[in-house]
């Protein structure tokens, strides 16, 4: 049974996972107003899901441009939602990331900044300071 569940998880279409990261990003924005710890956990979940989607894409859809585009677009949309309450300076970095994504999209290797990861560390440090 466990094998069956694991097999089903690995067969999820990565685009669905990238779509769900948008929902978790939105939940992060809502939660940050109420409970910072839960918000940090939601951000961590977003990053982990995005990474899992990336692994699935690399393994099963490495030549599929549509899935790559979905990954990049969902990452930018997720960042745009996450940083709404942290306009300065995070939106500046987000704009740079959008520019990088568009600029390097037609190159061999897409280069983007791991903004959500950096933001997670920043939030965790700020939260620890509050304790």
């Amino acid at each position: 049974m466990v094998y069956g569940i694991l097999r089903r998880i690995t067969m999820i279409y990565p685009n669905k996972i990238f779509g769900i990261t948008l929902i978790t990003s939105l939940l992060f924005v809502i939660l940050i107003k109420y409970n910072v710890l839960f918000a940090i956990l939601m951000l961590l979940l977003t990053i982990l899901m995005n990474y899992y989607g990336y692994l699935l894409r690399k393994k099963y859809y490495s030549n599929n441009e549509s899935v790559l585009m979905c990954e990049l677009a969902s990452a930018r949309l997720s960042e745009s939602l996450i940083f709404i309450l942290f306009l300065k300076p995070w939106y500046f970095f987000f704009i740079i990331n959008c520019l990088l994504t568009l600029y390097t999209f037609n190159k061999k290797r897409v280069i983007t900044l791991p903004l959500r990861g950096i933001f997670l560390i920043y939030l965790a440090i700020e939260y620890l300071k509050l304790l």
């Binding site: 948008l22 809502i30 306009l87 500046f92 987000f94 959008c98 568009l102």
Partner: protein, 152 residues
């Protein structure tokens, strides 16, 4: 996604984040559906086929509806934030616009890298046109009911 859902969902999320602010309803109403204005030229040009098939598709979306537009709008609002002191209004506007992008990206077909690539992206949360209609109807009714309960 339809304008009614965009508005009611944006109002719901804005209320959850910033608290109930009925005075912001006109701002939320405008900025949650303003992005759809780019459909107008396509609607005028293809009115008959739209009536027959009731489907917009990704071709009706201009580059302002994709990452390119996201970048431009984000840059403009970020620039304005240096001069305009009421940051909450800017955040509400930004939230409405970003929610519009996110909802359209999740529910329909999009071309996120238009004009650099015309490849379509679809998240496959539904598999037939009938399921899409059901999903849209359910979400819209739920959104309107939530809005009704929050305001009245």
């Amino acid at each position: 996604m339809n304008s009614l859902f965009h508005f009611s969902f944006s109002y719901l999320i804005v209320s959850l984040i910033f608290g109930q602010k009925p005075e912001l309803i006109p701002i939320i109403a405008f900025f949650s559906i303003a992005l759809d204005l780019d459909h107008l030229p396509y609607v005028i040009k293809n009115f008959r086929s739209l009536i027959r098939y009731l489907r917009f598709g990704s071709v009706s979306r201009t580059r302002s509806h994709e990452i390119f537009g996201l970048l431009i709008i984000s840059s403009i609002i970020f620039f304005i934030s240096f001069f305009y002191k009421n940051i909450i209004i800017l955040q509400v506007i930004l939230l409405c616009i970003m929610l519009h992008y996110a909802i359209d990206f999740m529910i329909g077909y999009s071309r996120p890298f238009n004009p650099y690539s015309n490849q379509e992206v679809f998240l496959k949360f539904y598999s037939s046109a009938r399921q899409r209609v059901l999903l849209e109807m359910t979400l819209t009714i739920a959104g309107v009911i939530a809005f009704w309960f929050m305001v009245f």
